[in-house]
């Protein structure tokens, strides 16, 4: 399956990073005094909270996702003159099922359109963790993978080649041991590169689908792109519609999805800079 080649974000991106204030506000995130918003995703037990605490220090507070009983932590950090807000998503194994946790995580990545999604991966269980990474990459291009627990991986005699991984996934992969504060600077650098558009991700899409599935996805994706040109994740939306995802069907009917594309009637023209062809 070939995917549309992603255009580079416009050069002005660094100057106008908050592109999506209204949707973020709906999701309970205020962006006053912040330049970028970063979502923190990952499987449970990957040291996600350790990464969160290491990056934000004491500048954090907790609350609930709007309308859900799922808790959420928020914090922030400053790096190279920009202020980043970090939103901790619930730990999930996947974004495909309908548990409240997965819904909250998925909604934030889809509708909140974070400038960067930092996915924390357990280096000792890469295969299982990649399932989530691949699903995140279907929704957003702007991903940095933090390969956490590298110390444990070494202890187990595992050799993880982060450069191969980065090449395969098409996004920055940073080895780290958040517990020992190793790799934090590199994570900040990669997040900043992706947020400011200095690094452009070319993410890998899920492959290996049976041919008839591939055909159905291609047909539906084409239709969606026709109706919503510039929608950054039309392929993913097609997959969700084929799966009969009521939530996405509703979002489509109410126009929430359309807003995400540059052609969406309610969105100012300057917001198309994030990802996808809209940026060209």
């Amino acid at each position: 399956m070939t995917t549309p080649i992603m255009g580079a974000p416009a050069a002005g991106c660094a100057a106008c990073p908050i592109h999506n204030v209204a949707n973020l506000l709906k999701l309970g995130v205020t962006m006053d005094n912040w330049n970028f918003v970063v979502a923190l995703a990952g499987n449970p037990n990957t040291g996600k909270s350790t990464v969160f605490n290491a990056l934000t220090g004491l500048r954090q507070h907790t609350g609930n996702w709007p309308g859900k009983t799922v808790t959420r932590a928020e914090g922030g950090f400053e790096y190279r003159g920009h202020r980043y807000k970090l939103v901790d998503l619930p730990g999930t194994y996947s974004l495909l099922a309908a548990s409240p946790d997965e819904e909250a995580a998925r909604d934030f990545i889809l509708f909140g359109r974070p400038d960067v999604t930092l996915v924390v991966v357990d280096a000792t269980r890469i295969e299982r963790n990649l399932n989530l990474v691949l699903q995140v990459l279907e929704i957003t291009d702007r991903v940095v993978v933090c390969l956490n627990l590298m110390d444990e991986a070494r202890r187990h005699g595992l050799e993880v080649d982060d450069r191969t991984l980065a090449r395969e996934l098409g996004v920055p992969v940073i080895p780290a041991s958040a517990r020992y504060r190793q790799g934090l600077d590199e994570i900040l650098g990669a997040v900043s590169d992706v947020a400011t558009g200095r690094f452009v991700c070319k993410p890998r899409r899920i492959q290996n689908e049976p041919p008839e599935l591939k055909r159905a996805v291609a047909e539906l994706t084409a239709r969606i792109e026709e109706a919503f040109p510039g929608l950054p994740n039309s392929r993913w939306v097609a997959l969700r519609l084929l799966d009969g995802d009521e939530h996405i069907i509703q979002a489509m009917r109410q126009g929430d999805l359309g807003e995400l594309g540059t052609a969406g009637p309610t969105e100012p023209a300057s917001t198309g800079v994030v990802t996808g062809e809209g940026g060209r």
Partner: protein, 477 residues
């Protein structure tokens, strides 16, 4: 602009629906498999795992065996058979010890003490013969199997086997329109239905959780195994030559338990196509690596969280039940006791469904705990037949160790093979005990669904026993 977009949206949704119907129902699985395959390929390229090889191969070998199409189910049945056998046979000794302490030792002391300080007979009868003895029965019959079953269950969970069972059973539950995780709650139900109902919290979808709650009763709980085993030994075991007796009665009990599982699927199927209609939700099931269980911690948490909690609720209900049983047997209205009046009243109904008034009354009186059904049946039979020389007196629950004396007593109460078989069926298919009913109410917060959960099984039980009785009488003449 907006209307043309709306038209676009509807067109897209129609296309999606058409494509979906062409793709068939396993779309979600295909998609998940594609994700997994991609993840596996990338991992193969990027990770070298020399140290993990040995352990991983062992894990994979076990997995291939316990989740295989051919061996998965036999291994599962075998494991659970061993677990039940350990529970049933292992519980005998501590049960006998608790019974010796509470019933053979403390009970006579209490009676003597009561006589010595000159309490009126009705007071010590109500408190000691009724409330104390009823609770003592529940404790001695219920505590040991629960203290054995729950830790074993938790150890299997800890080891990592239970997720594999859910994996094996998932497609069956899915076919029935229920959630795959119901495999877990059903198995918990074999230990105790109240615990099984609490365990349904793991099911996210309210619809599928309700199905799991409503059908949990058909997992034959610990409190009902003694009834099954005793009646099977008395009536089924005696049908075959002595050396087959043990096997035949064991098969009969396993047969009843399996019937419960079949009923679970049938009812889940029926419910999900009528009152609880909706989509089956898919879930990702993580098959964790096999780990050596943490034995001490498991013992501690399962005793505190599961055994004691469930036991406490049972005791709370056994106290008033013991009092009630004693009162019905000792309050006389115009000669016969209330119990005898009720037995006479229930006898025609009992005959109708191949049971008798004694059994029905025992089930009404023993709603608080299934454990006291058999002691109550015996006590009421003695009361109704006027047999002498057995038991402790009117309204006093007891059990007989001597099989011959027991079957003589029951035969004199008019029991036949049909009564035995129908009692086994009714013991499987009747209302949940009051502990479970109370738990269902607490978990669902709905009086309506609690009523459905309580009354549906009784109605079904009467229907099944009635049918069996009709067919039996037609065939046997």
């Amino acid at each position: 602009m907006s209307t043309s977009r709306d038209a676009h949206v509807e067109e897209i949704l129609t296309t999606a629906r058409t494509l979906r119907s062409q793709l068939g129902t396993d779309f979600h699985e295909q998609l998940v498999e594609a994700v997994y395959a991609t993840a596996a390929r990338i991992t193969d390229r990027a990770v070298i795992k020399p140290g993990e090889k040995a352990r991983l191969t062992l894990d994979r070998t076990i997995d291939r065996l316990v989740t295989s199409r051919l061996w998965g189910f036999p291994i599962m049945f075998l494991l659970f058979a061993v677990m039940f056998w350990l529970t049933i046979s292992g519980a005998n000794v501590p049960s006998a010890m608790i019974a010796w302490l509470l019933i053979d030792t403390i009970y006579p002391l209490l009676r003597e003490g009561a006589a010595a300080i000159g309490l009126p007979w009705w007071l010590w009868g109500l408190v000691i013969d009724g409330m104390y003895l009823g609770t003592a029965w529940v404790l001695s019959v219920m505590l040991p199997p629960m203290a054995i079953f729950f830790p074993m269950f938790t150890l299997l969970e800890d080891f990592g086997y239970l997720p594999r069972v859910a994996f094996n059973l998932d497609w069956l539950f899915k076919k029935a329109g229920a959630h795959g995780k119901q495999a877990m709650t059903t198995m918990m139900g074999f230990g105790c239905n109240a615990a099984g109902v609490i365990a349904t919290r793991i099911i996210d979808s309210p619809r599928e959780r309700m199905i799991a709650i409503l059908t949990n009763n058909f997992a034959l709980c610990n409190g009902r195994w003694p009834t099954q085993i005793l009646i099977a030994t008395l009536f089924i075991g005696s049908l075959v030559p002595a050396y087959f007796a043990g096997l035949a009665s064991a098969m009969a009990v396993v047969g009843v338990a399996s019937l419960g599982v079949v009923l679970t699927f049938v009812l889940a199927w029926a419910l999900s196509r009528t009152v609880l209609r909706g989509q089956v939700s898919t879930f990702s099931l993580e098959l964790p690596p096999y780990r050596p269980p943490r034995i001490l911690q498991t013992l501690y948490t399962s005793v505190i969280d599961r055994t004691l909690l469930v036991l406490w609720r049972a005791v709370v209900w056994a106290l008033p039940a013991g009092a009630l049983i004693w009162l019905t047997a000792n309050i006389h209205i115009g000669g016969p006791s209330i119990a005898e009046h009720l037995i006479a009243l229930l006898n025609p109904v009992g005959f109708f469904v191949g049971l008798n008034g004694v059994i029905l009354l025992a089930y009404i009186l023993a709603i608080p705990a299934n454990e006291i059904v058999i002691p109550t049946v015996l006590m009421l039979t003695v009361l109704a037949t006027g047999a002498t020389g057995v038991g402790e007196g009117a309204g006093v629950m007891f059990e007989l160790d001597d099989t011959k004396a027991l079957i003589e007593l029951l035969r004199s109460g008019g029991w036949t093979l049909l009564t035995g078989i129908n009692l086994m069926l009714f013991s499987l298919i009747h209302n949940p005990c009051s502990t479970t009913i109370y738990t269902i109410y607490k978990e669902t917060g709905s009086a309506k669904w609690t009523a459905v959960a309580s009354l549906m099984p009784v109605a079904l039980g009467f229907a099944v026993t009635f049918l069996v009785a009709v067919v039996w009488r037609a065939v046997a003449g």
